[in-house]
């Protein structure tokens, strides 16, 4: 899985980055790498079974709590 994830990340970087560099879209390139890095980091965390993604349920839980149910 780690290998697959890294291959996917490398492929995406190879497909997208040259176009952005040619277009001198440095801001877009930075945002692209931040999201790609974020995706890779999340993927690695998940592969190593770090279950902290329950954070995704935090907001729905809070709203449910406000309504007292």
């Amino acid at each position: 899985m780690t290998f697959l994830l890294l291959v996917a990340v490398a492929l995406i970087a190879l497909i997208e980055a040259p176009g952005l560099i040619r277009g001198k879209a440095w801001y877009e390139l930075t945002v692209f790498f931040i999201f790609l890095g974020g995706g890779a980091a999340l993927g690695m965390l998940q592969i190593f079974d770090v279950q902290w993604l329950g954070i995704a349920k935090l907001l729905p839980d809070m709203i449910q709590g406000w309504f007292g149910r």
Binding site: L5, A8, V9, I12, I15, E16, G19, L20, A25, Y27, E28, L29, V31, F32, F35, L36, G38, G39, A40, L42, G43, Q46, Q51, L53, A56, K57, L59, P60, D61, I63, Q64, W66, F67, R69
Partner: protein, 367 residues
């Protein structure tokens, strides 16, 4: 800067809204847990309530023609608070996309290909949605017409094929459930399938406006509602009380089709049409998230973000719940409140604020 150059026609937007809402057939199982054989009535009530949601969305979209949700939040609430509220919406859409992809994977992993890991289906659906998103909203709209047309045909065909299995006494006793349970079922019906259509506030600006928007949205909500009511009614008529214990009641009912030892095991048909509906919802939500983030961060194009977000969707989808029934607890306990706040209260507050600002401006001009 306009990030999307494509335009949606009347038929394309109607198809997208109909396909998007009617894809939430998983909620029907939960509605029937509360409402039993009266699930169809709860869905009908939810649909009636949702027309008010639709009115709020249309009126809000008309206040800011050509502006998406993220763009008009900046105008309405100012650059900082507006961005915060937009981020809240985008988090909601991000979660919806992840749930949608995972549900699709779970459906295939549990019903059809039980030996294949769920991750395979999730990756395939995310990849498919990412490719569609890169082609733009107009392409998704064009595909939407074909897919929704075939979904409607599927609903009609399956209903006719199941006529022999239907027992109308399954609907009795009529309305014999506590009012509280019916209220819960109707709330789920209104907020989950219909409330999630708030995502269209990001897509309505790309409608070519050749015909009135209000009629389009109302018709699409009505059509999607009819499809869900027919599905709930069919499940109740065919399965009776056992419908409420099946996780995928819409598959269980279709499995009973058995005509002349020839037309059997039609659950593959359900899988096909569920994929169509899930694709529409997944692609629309994916597009909304990508476009929303690009507008929030003022990027020149949304396309570079598509594949990095696809990786994020796969990762979050795979860890958003551990096992499938956990998803039902999300729909049952959290979604009615969460969806109500994000999909209804926030747009309503925005509409009231927009009207108040408009009135104040008109008052200033008159003096």
């Amino acid at each position: 800067m306009q990030l999307e150059k494509g335009k949606l026609s009347y038929a394309q937007l109607t198809a997208l809204i109909t396909g998007y809402i009617s894809s939430q057939v998983l909620a029907l199982g939960l509605i029937s847990v509360y409402a039993g054989p009266n699930a169809w009535l709860a869905v009908l009530t939810g649909m009636m309530v949702s027309f008010f949601f639709a009115w709020v969305y249309v009126t809000l979209a008309r206040q800011f023609p050509g502006k998406t949700l993220v763009e008009f939040n900046d105008i309405l609430y100012g650059p900082y608070l507006g961005k915060g509220i937009s981020a809240l919406y985008l988090l909601f859409f991000f979660q919806l996309t992840s749930y949608n992809m995972r549900d699709y994977g779970e459906f295939f992993g549990h019903i059809l290909m039980t030996q294949t890991p769920v991750a395979v289906f999730v990756i395939v659906s995310v990849l498919l949605a990412a490719i569609a998103v890169r082609y733009g909203i107009e392409t998704i709209g064009r595909v939407g017409i074909i897919l929704v047309g075939s979904i409607i045909l599927y609903y009609v065909t399956v209903f006719l094929l199941l006529l022999k299995e239907m027992d109308w006494s399954n609907l009795l006793p009529f309305f014999s459930i506590p009012v509280k349970d019916f209220y819960t079922a109707s709330t789920i019906a209104a907020t989950v399938p219909f409330g999630e259509a708030v995502a269209f506030l990001m897509i309505i600006p790309f409608y070519n406006q050749r015909r009135p928007l209000k009629g389009l949205v109302m018709k699409a909500f009505g059509l999607a509602g009819c499809l869900l009511v027919v599905s709930a009614l069919r499940n109740s008529l065919v399965l009776g009380n056992t419908g409420s214990i099946a996780a995928f009641s819409f598959v269980e009912s279709v499995r009973l089709i058995h005509i002349a030892d020839f037309l059997t095991r039609l659950d593959i048909l359900v899988a096909m049409f569920f994929s169509f509906a899930a694709f529409i919802k997944g692609a629309v939500l994916f597009y909304v998230v990508v476009l929303g983030i690009s507008q929030l961060l003022r990027l020149r194009s949304y396309k570079p973000l598509t594949f990095p977000l696809a990786i994020l969707f796969v990762c979050v989808s795979m860890s958003i719940y551990d096992y499938f029934p956990e998803n039902f607890s999300m729909i049952e306990y959290r979604a009615p409140y969460y969806n109500f706040v994000i999909a209804f209260l926030l747009p309503l507050a925005s509409l009231i604020l927009a009207k108040a600002k408009q009135r104040r401006q008109a008052g200033r001009e008159n003096h």
